[in-house]
Amino acid sequence: MLEYYFPNEAAEPLLWHPVLFAYTLLVSGADLLILAALAYLSGSLRKVIPLMTMLGIGFFAVVLVGPLADLKSPHKAPLIFTHPHLAPTAANPGISLTAFQATAWLIALILSIIFALLTFSYYSHQASLTSVGLRKSLYQAFSLGVTSAEKYGAVEKVAKAVAVLMLPFLTLWGVYPATLFIMQTWNPAWRSWALLPVTYFADTFVVATALFMLVYFLWRYGSLERDVVTPVLKIHAAGSLSVAALTGLQMAMWWTWSPATAEMVEPLIPLMYVVIGLLLLSFFLSLVAIRYPATIPAVSLVAMAGTFTNKWNIIVNAQLISKTGLAFFEPELGGGWLLETAAPIALGVAVFVLLSILFPLEVRESGK
């Protein structure tokens, strides 16, 4: 029995605030870009590429704004880029996953922008012909000199190469927060959450597709195209089912490992049941929506509720388990946490709206 227990974590149990939760939602931008790249490479789902690319860039571009509110010295944040801990030395052994991912973000974002510019090059040329003033200059710059369908054919090959290059960096981002939790922290819940990276990867696909479907529904309300909606719904259904199954499997693993582990993770279990329930519901609603596309908003909202709950449980509740695994702290949230959490997402939406003004959200085959 322990008494007079003065651990530092009691002073600040929630070191990483719910803003991290917004951050992990913004990571879904990486998954949208993965889907866009795969669609471009496979030649299927071409109609969804513009919307996915713009939505993906909008969210991924602001992803690092997410954790800024969690830094105690945010004015020193640029040091991650100017003084990154990327190579092990005697004084600084190991490599920082955070520094590595920050570099990967920069590379992935540049590649994503190049990918977008290449795929929209011929469109930009055509748009420049009918625009005036600043818009004309912008479109001329965005056209990259692609002024004919023949030239666009050649550009497509480069765009495919860029799409291939994007994939590893974006995939790393898809699993990043989970990898950090499991590899470079000593939180007992995170370290024993063996399925966290794969759950996280599937989970971000669920958010990405839910977000895509909601935006698509609002944009094309009344004229939804089945050949766009159906494949995305199938990906969404598979993702929802995967996260529900992986969550259940992780619970079973904890229970079979040891009574001490089962006792330690006890505070996480109720919300894990909620996650399984919501994502199974989202799975069934996806199947219904394939037949009745008007129900798409219900699919998106249920899925988002499920993934929000999942992220809250993973990030906030798991952090409240003490390093000894013996205590569960009470969350102490500052007054502005909701605004702080919503701000990065709002910024992502703003970037997307700006991009959607400049670029079309529907496919123009061969630049038409």
Binding site: M1, P7, A90, S96, L180, Q184, S322
Partner: protein, 212 residues
């Protein structure tokens, strides 16, 4: 001319890269491997070390560079276990630091360069012992430094000097001193050996129950 321009350009880029560079921490290295030994049998929980540390290092209220845990056995016996940063040989807190602010010196101290620390908390989360905290005043990660400023002046860490029973013994390992003699001659334990961190705080009579 072209060569000169390229060199000039590279020079300018290098200069720009150097702009955000910050000076290294003021720690002076002695080439020794410092460690501490805590005899649990000698600690009676007076908290003199906790107070001395807080006063010496300006530790903010609610946070601790060193603290004492108390174990009450079923027979009512009380055991006091002082804890702090273990200045690990393979410190889990160093790799996650994105800017390299947390570093290990040649004499085995694990320190934080305040100028480089952005206060992300990665090191706080990665310490298995809960020995680190976010300093709300300085906006950086904070922890025990083995009072390196006192070591530089030839003094002992404040907690060691304040201990009335001599439960804490400090010094360089592998040298002819009290610490090395005890570590060589008596069975000693460390906290959470399963982490592989190789802590450099050695304990005598550490109860198994504490090691979670």
């Amino acid at each position: 001319m072209n060569e000169v321009s390229r060199r000039g350009f590279l020079g300018a880029v290098s200069a720009l890269m150097m702009l955000p560079a910050v000076s290294a921490a003021p720690h002076t290295e002695s080439g020794k491997r410092y460690a501490m030994l805590i005899d649990v049998d000698k600690c009676f929980g007076c908290m003199a070390c906790v107070v001395a540390c807080a006063a010496e290092n300006n530790v903010p209220l609610g946070s601790f560079r060193t603290w004492i845990e108390q174990l009450v056995k079923p027979d009512g016996t009380r055991i006091f276990v002082p804890k702090q940063c273990n200045h690990c040989e393979d410190p889990p807190c160093v790799p996650p630091c994105p800017t390299g602010a947390t570093y290990k010196t040649a004499d085995g101290l694990v320190l934080v360069n305040d100028e480089l620390c952005i206060g992300c908390g990665a090191c706080v989360k990665s310490c298995p012992y809960g020995a680190r905290y976010s300093n709300p005043v300085k906006g950086v990660a904070d922890k025990c430094t083995f009072c390196d400023h006192r070591l530089a002046a030839g003094l002992l860490p404040a907690c060691v000097e304040a201990c009335p029973t001599g439960a804490r013994v400090f010094g360089p390992l592998h040298e002819d001193n009290e610490l090395s003699k005890i570590v060589r001659s008596r069975p000693v334990q460390v906290l959470k050996p399963h982490t592989g961190a190789e802590p450099q705080i050695y304990y005598i009579s550490l109860p198994d129950e504490v090691n979670r």
